[in-house]
């Protein structure tokens, strides 16, 4: 028995994206580690529209979305119980935990069976599987029994220890505690709520578990009997739902957040032509900042022009554009809508990023580290990837930087992979690749427009602009303190 995946019709593509890529383009601000784990295992291109169909369905169906959310919670429970089962130290403990685990699987199956027969191939297959399971008499009986035994297990979850000197007794005794009494008094005095909960996670040792079994002999015998009959009934493949469901739910939350912010979302169209053509592209990580004006840009990579340098003033939006492109392609590959007006995307086989790293380089220099990482990308990109290079070779002298960049460009520009390379280096014209540049409005004190456009060659960066950006130039200071409040 193996549970049907919610992410793959058949099997993954075999490619995995590095989690660092998600970190670099800041998708980790919107997706948990579990979801990123699901997203980084790439599907075959044919599964992308099927995932899109499922997300489309869920975004318009509150009831199904709510069911998926509940299923995700149960999947987390199953994962936790499964982890506990791996650590049991005595048979009574094993039987006890197993009852809970199977009961949780029963809850999951029961709820999954209630999903509508809609939402595309993946969800229909998922629902149908659990509906057929619930029609299976043996499974239903097993599930029912687990649920009943779980209730008995819960009865053994409150015990009292009597302590006198060095001696200890265990007894079933459920009388009110001092804490109960004090909390009642606090409530009657209308004091602010008190949370007495402490982070306690103290494992009962086998002697204690066995003592518990002696206090509840009938229940523990029943748990043992259940385990002896059904000990092989748990199928570990159910554990992957934890990641799969979390991915869909977080994708839906992100979509809702973007829509609420009044920003466009589009379902990308996949193409077999080697091109990435995204219009009105913007970076969702700007959602994390208040009061930021989001300026959309277009990105066009074709088979003829798959490689661009991106240059221009600091603070002009270069990294934002690069992140936006990375986000759009990653979201496309995961089956999500992308943050743009329209998108036609070739389903690349992988995505690579090369960002400056701040860690200490104890065994190698910074340049050596950059070269090593570049080498890894060159070895892995396979001529069909998206490669995002952010100020690569910016930490060495200009001569070495330019020669390294030219060498890297030579290897990538005709490789078939798409590359965007942010750089401040001069003298890259001989690489014979097109340049993009951020546009500054020279008629308006070099104000940044955050627009990206094609340029023929690299422009110098304007360190002085940074000062104006922060309003520290003379005119800005004058504007900030004009005394105009007096005219209100």
């Amino acid at each position: 028995m193996s549970y049907p995946s919610l992410l793959f019709s058949d099997r993954p593509s075999g490619q995995r994206i590095s989690p660092q890529v998600f970190e670099d383009v800041k998708l980790t601000a919107f997706f948990s580690e579990e979801s990123v784990d699901a997203m980084r295992v790439l599907s075959l291109p044919a599964d992308i529209p099927i995932r899109q169909e499922l997300l489309r369905f869920l975004s318009g169906n509150d009831s199904a979305r709510s069911t998926l959310s509940e299923l995700s919670g149960i999947a987390a429970e199953i994962q936790r119980l499964w982890g506990a089962l791996q650590e049991v130290k005595c048979e009574n403990e094993r039987h006890y935990v197993y009852v809970g685990l199977l009961a949780a699987v029963g809850d999951f199956a029961h709820l999954a069976a209630s999903l509508p027969d809609a939402g595309g191939a993946l969800l229909r297959r998922f629902g149908a599987y659990f509906r057929s399971l619930s029609c299976d008499e043996a499974w239903s009986a097993l599930s029912r029994e687990a649920a009943e035994l779980r209730e008995r297990a819960r009865e053994a979850q409150h015990e009292t220890f009597r302590m006198s000197g060095d001696n200890l007794w265990m007894r079933p005794d459920y009388r009110e505690t001092y804490t109960d009494r004090l909390l009642r008094c606090a409530g009657e005095l209308e004091l602010p709520p008190i949370n007495p909960k402490r982070e306690l996670n103290l494992r009962l040792d086998p002697r204690m578990v066995n003592a518990l079994a002696r206090l509840h002999p009938d229940s523990f015998l029943a748990f043992r009997d259940f385990y002896s009959r059904n000990g092989n009934s748990f199928d570990e493949s159910i554990l992957s739902y934890r990641f799969e469901l979390e991915y869909y739910l977080e994708a839906l939350r992100l979509m809702a957040r973007i829509t609420a912010a009044g920003l466009p979302l589009t379902w990308p169209q996949l193409t077999k032509e080697r091109c990435i053509d995204i219009r009105g592209l913007y970076d969702i990580s700007l959602l994390l900042k208040d009061g930021v004006t989001i300026v959309p840009n277009d990105a066009l990579f074709t088979e003829q022009e798959p490689f661009f340098f991106l240059t221009g003033a600091n603070g002009g939006g270069k990294t934002t554009f690069l992140r936006a492109l990375g986000n759009a392609v990653l979201l496309t590959l995961a089956g999500c809508p992308v943050c743009a007006e329209s998108a036609v995307v070739f389903p690349v086989s992988n995505v690579f990023t090369h960002f400056p790293q701040d860690e200490r380089f104890e065994t190698e220099g910074r340049y050596a580290d950059e070269q090593r990482r570049v080498g890894e990308i060159l070895a892995a990109h396979g001529g069909s990837s998206l490669i995002l290079l952010n100020e690569t070779y910016s930490t060495t002298n200009e001569e070495l930087a330019v020669s390294s960049t030219l060498a890297l460009t030579e290897k990538l520009k005709d490789s078939g992979s798409f590359t965007l390379y942010i750089t401040h280096q001069h003298g890259l014209e001989e690489a014979k690749v097109p340049f993009l540049s951020v546009i500054v409005d020279q008629d308006d004190e070099n104000r940044r427009t955050y627009r990206i456009a094609r340029k023929k060659e690299a422009e110098s960066s304007f360190a002085a602009d940074i000062l104006r950006l922060y309003g520290l130039d003379g005119e800005s200071l004058l504007r900030r303190f004009p005394g105009k409040e007096a005219d209100r």
């Binding site: 936790r80 119980l81 506990a84 403990e93 935990v97 809970g100 297990a153 819960r154 053994a156 979850q157 409150h158 015990e159 009292t160 220890f161 009597r162 302590m163 006198s164 000197g165 060095d166 001696n167 200890l168 007794w169 265990m170 007894r171 079933p172 005794d173 009388r175 505690t177 001092y178 804490t179 009494r181 004090l182 909390l183 008094c185 606090a186 009657e188 005095l189 004091l191 602010p192 008190i194 007495p196 909960k197 402490r198 306690l200 996670n201 103290l202 494992r203 009962l204 002697r207 204690m208 578990v209 003592a211 518990l212 002696r214 206090l215 303190f481 005394g483 409040e485 007096a486 209100r488």
Partner: protein
């Protein structure tokens, strides 16, 4: 909840420090020299500091001001009551800090490493907290009995008395005391315990609560022998009919850990409850410091034979400042007799603003200071230095006094002028309708013509923002401003005011 003698309705939880106008009010207090007066009148630096904080947060409700005035008058009538309450709350104010200090003392030599050491430390914390809870609760009786000995008439003091009576009769407080009294014994070994635990579905204990703590015998030799016997022979008293499984002595560390968690939980809850009960009266010591300063202020004026009055408070819309025989408290505090001080009647009603001029040393600054002080004192619930007064409440009181040059590092006129512009800009950023702004010789650090031009546009803007102003100046601005809604006053050599 917190009981307050300063606020009838306002939640005194609002800390003084969070007021957005804090820095502006500090300037106002400084410019009006109220800080000097309060320091001189207060018994202690603490009382002065607290009183200044109160003055920096003027009340804007007549009901609140009258509540405070009535309490002050009770204390003026019964100074002994104030003394007794101050004594009680001096101790009360240190109760919590003493408790915290003793708690910290438990770990003077570091956090214990063994389960037994941790348990002992936790019990010690619980014992101290139980004592803190008992002592806190006992204050309700002390306060009730003290206030009950005086015929007070203010809502504040009558309220605290009836509040304490209610608390003394409260059964929940009795129960808290009763539970606290259990934990008086020297060590954790003086008890036998029952701890109720909760396990989760993986058999991890997630909660431990103390169900029972029963003292073993006393510390007599017989008692010690019995405790030892209980330890050695396991002949713990048969509890009841509840079935038990004897776990033997193999779980000593686990048992101590579970017990420690139960005592810790109880400590957490009891600390929170005691802390919250303590809150009922927290800060009253400081409030009494304010009243002590108020009583001293009244006594000083009485000793000097100087007139004073509780002003008639008017809504802000009445837009009225009218005083009879207004005088400057500072002149009195500097040693002048009341007979030497010229008292003026000041009437500013329904004006957009007031311009004051006069030769040097004719009383302009004294008068603007007296007006500001009268408003602040009135809105703090204190009497004002006048024979009679009718005062509209102001949302805020701002000052820009050119004499306050302490902040200007540049000594050249341009730097000082810029400093003044910054101060005025800061005030204009904070004003709200029904604010009053007092300008004293503002912008005289530049040429009078330029200064007057700058001030004229600012003064014209203030009424449009719903604010009022008083501007003392030597600048030629009287002719420039022809608006009939602007009152113009002039000081003569005899320190008397004339309306132009």
């Amino acid at each position: 909840m917190r009981f307050s003698l300063l606020y009838r309705n306002d939640e005194p939880e609002r800390e003084f420090t969070v007021s957005p106008l804090r820095s502006a009010m500090e300037e106002t207090i400084y410019d009006l020299s109220i800080d000097k007066a309060v320091l001189e009148l207060s018994a202690t630096g603490e009382a002065a500091a607290y009183s200044l904080e109160v003055l920096k947060n003027p009340l804007t409700s007549v009901e609140e001001i009258e509540y405070r005035q009535a309490v002050l008058m009770d204390f003026v009538a019964f100074p002994k009551l104030l003394e007794e309450l101050q004594e009680i709350f001096r101790n009360y104010d240190t109760l919590q800090s003493d408790w915290r200090e003793m708690q910290a003392g438990i770990y003077t030599y570091g956090v214990p490493q063994t389960a037994g050491g941790i348990l002992d430390a936790t019990y010690e914390s619980l014992k101290l907290t139980a004592a803190f809870a008992r002592r806190t609760v006992s204050y309700f009786r002390s306060v009730y009995e003290t206030v009950g000995r005086y015929e007070v008439s203010s809502d504040g003091l009558k309220g605290i008395r009836s509040y304490c009576r209610e608390m003394m009769e409260n059964r929940s407080l009795d129960e808290i005391t009763e539970i606290s009294e259990i934990f008086e014994k020297e060590t954790v070994e003086s008890y036998r315990f029952k701890v109720r635990t909760e396990t989760d579905d993986t058999l991890r204990i997630t909660a431990a609560s103390l169900q029972e703590a029963i003292e073993l015998e006393d510390s007599s030799i017989g008692g010690k022998v019995k405790r030892l016997a209980a330890k050695l022979t396991k002949t713990a008293p048969p509890a009841d009919e509840t079935p038990e499984v004897d776990m033997g002595e193999f779980h000593l560390e686990t048992a101590k850990t579970i017990l420690n968690e139960a005592l810790s939980e109880l400590f957490t809850v009891l600390s929170s409850i005691a802390g919250n009960i303590y809150e009922f009266f927290r800060g009253l010591g400081g409030e009494l410091g304010f009243y002590d300063t108020g009583v001293r202020y009244v006594r000083r004026l009485q000793q000097e034979g100087a007139p004073m009055c509780l002003p008639r408070l008017l809504p802000r819309e009445a837009d009225c400042f009218r005083t009879w025989g207004l005088y400057d408290l500072h002149l009195l505090l500097e040693g002048m007799t009341i007979g030497q001080i010229v008292r003026n009647d000041v009437t500013i009603v329904g004006c957009d603003g007031t311009l004051i001029r006069g030769a040097n040393s004719t009383g302009k600054t004294c008068t603007i200071r007296s007006i500001g002080a009268a408003i602040l004192f009135a809105q703090a619930g204190l009497p004002v230095c006048a024979e009679r007064a009718e005062i509209s409440l102001r949302e805020a009181l701002f000052c820009q006094f050119s004499s306050a040059e302490k902040d200007f590092e540049a000594t050249d006129a341009a730097g000082r002028f810029e400093g003044e512009v910054k101060e005025v800009a800061a005030i204009l950023r904070q004003i709200t309708p029904w604010s009053l702004i007092l300008f004293n010789e503002t912008f005289q650090t530049t040429s009078y013509a330029e200064g007057a031009e700058g001030m004229a546009s600012i003064l014209a803007a203030l009424p449009r923002a719903g604010c009022r102003y008083i501007f003392v100046t030597h600048m030629p601005i009287f002719d420039r401003i022809t608006d009939p809604r602007v009152l113009k006053l002039e000081f003569g050599r005899d320190y008397r005011i004339t309306q132009l």
